[in-house]
Amino acid sequence: MKMQKKKKCIAMLLAGGQGSRLGVLTKNIAKPAVPFGGKYRIIDFTLSNCVNSGIDTVGVLTQYKPMELNEYIGNGQPWGLDRNSGGVHILQPFTKIKSKEWYKGTANAIYQNELFIEQYEPTHVLVLSGDHIYKMDYAKMLAEHENNHADCTIAVIDVPLSEASRFGIMNTREDGSIYEFEEKPKEPKSTKASMGVYIFRWDVMKKYLEQDSKDENSDNDFGKNIIPAMLSDGCNMHAYAFGGYWKDVGTIESLWEANMDLLSGDSALSLEDNELKVYARNYDCPPTYIFEGAKISGAMITKGCEIKGCVENSIISSECIIGEGAVIKNSVLFPGTVVEQNAEVNFAILGTGVHIGEGAKVGETDFSAAEKKKQKITVLGSRFLLEANGAVQAGEMLEAQS
C-alpha cells in the first residue's frame, strides 16, 4: 500500500517565523504570505525555485497564523504543485501519542515531520526559508552536492566585508569544503554568507536530528546546533557559491528596498526572465485601466487597478484605485489599496485594503525636501483607514482599529 513514489530530493520550507520585525504587516498573516512586487507573495519565489529546479515535493512547515498562507498555497495548482505523488503539503504540528508538541527550533520542525519525509525515501533533503527573495536553480546546487559526495551543502553568497558580521559566515578551504561556521562573527574571516539554503543527505540529516532531539539543552536549530555538530564530527560539508540576486526581507527597510530594486532598470532579479519564472496565485480581475490625465513614471502596476492620479517610482498591486490628483511616490501599495483624490503618499508601504482619504498625507510629502535625504519608511497595516485630510508622519507604523 505504498502511496508515494520515491523521490531523489524533496524540499522542506520553513515558513513558521513570526516575522515580528515586519510589525503590522505580519499582524494577521505569516511572513511568507506578505505581498511582494505587485503580484507576488514572498513565498512565491522559493516555491517557484523548487518547481523550476525540478523538485515537485515540498513540505511547508508552519504554525504561526497559517490561515491565509494555507489558503494562498491551496492545492498548489498555481505552481504546478497539485500532484498525485508529491506536490505541496502544509505541515502543521499534530498530536502525538502522549505529548502535544508545537515546533521548537527549525530542526525540531523538520524532526517532527520525519514520517512525512520518510514516505518519499529521498536521498537528499533541501531545507529552505520562506522569507528570502531570489531566483535560484537548486538543481545545479544538487549536482555539485552529489559530485562532492557531500553530507551537507550550504548555499553562500558573497557579501561586502563590512556587512559580513550581520550574517552566518562559512569559512572554507580551497576546494569549497567548510571547516568553520561562525554566526555573526565580529571579525569575519570570509565574506561567504549562508543563504539559509541547505541540502542534506537524508540519512545523515536524520541521524543528527535524532541526536539533537535528545539533547535537552539544544535550541533545535540548524544554524546553532545541527551544522556545528556535523562540522565537529568532520562531516563532508561544502559551500555552494550563488551569484545572483538574494535578499532577506525580514525588516521593513529591506522589504521596501527589495521592492524598489525591481524598478531599477537592470535589477539582478529579472522577473521577466522566463528561464526561472516566478509563479503566483492568480486572482481573476480585468486589465488595469489608465484614465485620461494620469501620469505614470517608472512604476510597476499589475492588473485590476484604476489610475487617475500620478504614480512615480512605486509598486502598485492588484485592484488598487488611485484618485484624480493623488500622488504616489517611492511607495509600495499592497492589493486593494484605495488612495482618494489629492491624497499624497511618499516612502510608504500601505498594507492590503488600506484606504487613504481625500487630501490625506502619508510620509514626508514635501516632495522636494524628501528627495534630498533617505527617508524613513511609513507603514500602515492592512485595512487601515486614514480619514480625509488626515496625516501620518514619516517613519510611523500604524495598525487598523479592530
Partner: protein
C-alpha cells in the same frame, strides 16, 4: 447538477476574416487578456454549471491550448468538467454544416450526461448573465424552450444571420423572424437556449431524420406554435461580435467604465488562462491615457485609447492611438500607429507609421514583421 452547458466554438467564424483564419471564433483574443469563450464559459461556471461540452469543428488547436485541462475555470474535474468534443463524434464522416448537425455529433456526450437541463450558447457575445435565473424562470413558466434575448437596434448592414422574435405579454414567443434585416429595435436572440436535455435529444432525433440543419429556422421558427418557447430578456450590457468592425468597437467599448463594470464586475469573475506575467512596467518617459492594459507589458512610449494585451512592448518615442495590440506585439522606437489591430506576436519595426481609419482598421496578421 441541474444544468449542463454546450458551447459552439466555430459558429460565425467566416464573418471575422483574417483574425479567425487560424483559430475558432471562440479563441479570438479580446479585452486585453481574454478569449471570447472566456465570457460564456465563466458565466456558466458562475451559474454553478460543472459539465460543459465545447463543440469544435476546425482550427481548434488554439482553443485546446487556451482551455488546457480547464483548471482556470475549475473544470478539471474527476466527475464532469470540461469536454472538448472533436468533429466526427457520433460516427460522422464529414464535419458538420450547421448547429443541428453539430449537436448531433455530440449526441453520445449529451446522452451520457445526467443533468436535467441544457444551456446551449454561441461564443460571440460578451455579457454577464446568471443562468440560474434563466432556469428559474424556465421552470416557473413551464416552458419547453427559453431563449435569451435582448432589445437591439438592427442596422440594415447587419451581416449576420440573426433571429428576432415577437412575444405576448407573458413573454411567450408568438412570431419568429429568421435572417431579419429591417432596421429598428427588436427583441433579438442572443444565441442562448435553455431546454430539457431529453427534449433536445428528441428534437435532434427528429430533425436528423428530416435532414434539417438550422436550429433557429428548423426548430425555433418551425415549432414555435407547438412548443412553448419563452423569452428571458437580458437587460444589461452585451457586446455582440459579428464583424471586424464590431470586434474593434467592442474592445474600444471597454474603455468606458460602465461597460467594464457591467462585463467584469457582474455575476462573478471572468476566468481566463493564466500566463504568469510580471506586472506591467511603465518607463520614466511613458505617457499613457485612456488605455486598458494587461500584465506583462513594458511601455516606454505613448499610448492613447488603446487595448494592450499581455506582453506588449511599446518602445521609447513610439505613439500608439486607437489601436488593439494583441499578445506579445512589439512596437519599435518612434513607431506611430493609429486604428491598427495587430494579431499575436506582431513586430512593428523602428520608425514605421501605420494609419487606419475609424471605420477601417488595418489588421496585421499573426507573427508578421512590418
Amino acid at each position: 447538477m441541474e444544468l449542463m452547458g454546450i458551447i459552439f466554438s466555430n459558429i460565425y467564424d467566416e464573418h471575422l476574416g483574417e483574425v479567425t483564419k487560424q483559430r475558432t471564433l471562440a479563441s479570438l483574443p479580446f479585452g486585453g487578456r481574454y478569449r471570447l469563450i472566456d465570457f460564456v464559459l465563466s458565466n456558466m461556471v458562475n451559474s454553478e454549471i460543472t459539465n460543459v461540452g465545447v463543440i469544435t469543428k476546425s482550427n481548434y488547436q488554439s482553443l485546446m491550448d487556451h482551455l488546457g485541462k480547464g483548471k482556470e475555470w475549475d473544470l478539471d474535474r474527476k466527475i464532469d468538467g470540461l469536454f472538448i468534443l472533436p468533429p466526427f463524434g457520433t460516427g460522422q464522416k464529414t464535419v458538420y454544416r450547421d448547429k443541428i448537425e453539430a449537436l448531433w455529433g455530440a449526441k453520445r456526450y449529451l446522452e451520457r450526461s445526467n443533468e436535467e437541463y441544457v444551456l446551449m450558447s454561441d461564443s460571440n457575445i460578451i455579457c454577464s448573465i446568471d443562468y440560474t435565473e434563466v432556469l428559474k424562470q424556465h421552470i416557473l413558466a413551464k416552458a419547453d424552450i427559453t431563449m435569451v434575448t435582448r432589445k437591439e437596434e438592427i442596422k440594415d448592414k447587419s451581416n449576420i444571420k440573426g433571429i428576432a422574435v415577437k412575444t405576448n405579454t407573458r413573454r411567450r414567443v408568438t412570431d419568429v423572424l429568421v435572417n431579419y434585416n429591417r432596421p429598428g429595435i427588436e427583441q433579438c436572440g442572443m444565441g442562448m437556449y435553455l431546454l430539457k436535455r431529453k427534449l433536445l435529444l428528441e428534437l435532434l432525433e427528429e430533425a436528423n431524420s428530416y435532414n434539417l440543419l438550422d436550429f433557429d429556422r428548423d426548430i425555433i421558427q418551425a415549432k414555435h406554435k407547438k412548443l412553448k418557447i419563452m423569452v428571458w430578456e437580458h437587460k444589461g450590457t452585451a457586446l455582440r461580435i459579428d464583424s471586424t468592425q464590431s470586434y474593434f468597437e467592442a474592445n474600444m467599448a471597454l474603455l468606458d467604465k460602465e461597460v467594464r463594470d457591467a462585463v467584469f464586475r457582474g455575476e462573478g469573475f471572468v476566468y481566463t488562462k493564466v500566463r504568469d506575467e510580471v506586472p506591467t512596467y511603465y518607463g520614466r518617459k511613458s505617457e499613457v491615457e485612456n488605455c486598458l492594459i494587461a500584465d506583462g507589458c513594458r511601455i516606454e512610449g505613448r499610448a492613447e485609447n488603446c487595448v494592450l494585451f499581455r506582453g506588449v512592448t511599446v518602445a521609447e518615442g513610439a505613439a500608439v492611438k486607437n489601436s488593439i495590440l494583441m499578445q506579445d506585439t512589439h512596437v519599435g522606437k518612434d513607431v506611430s500607429l493609429d486604428y491598427i489591430i495587430t494579431d499575436k506576436e506582431v513586430e512593428i519595426t523602428d520608425g514605421r507609421m501605420l494609419m487606419g481609419a475609424p471605420q477601417h482598421q488595418i489588421i496585421i496578421n499573426k507573427g508578421k514583421i512590418v
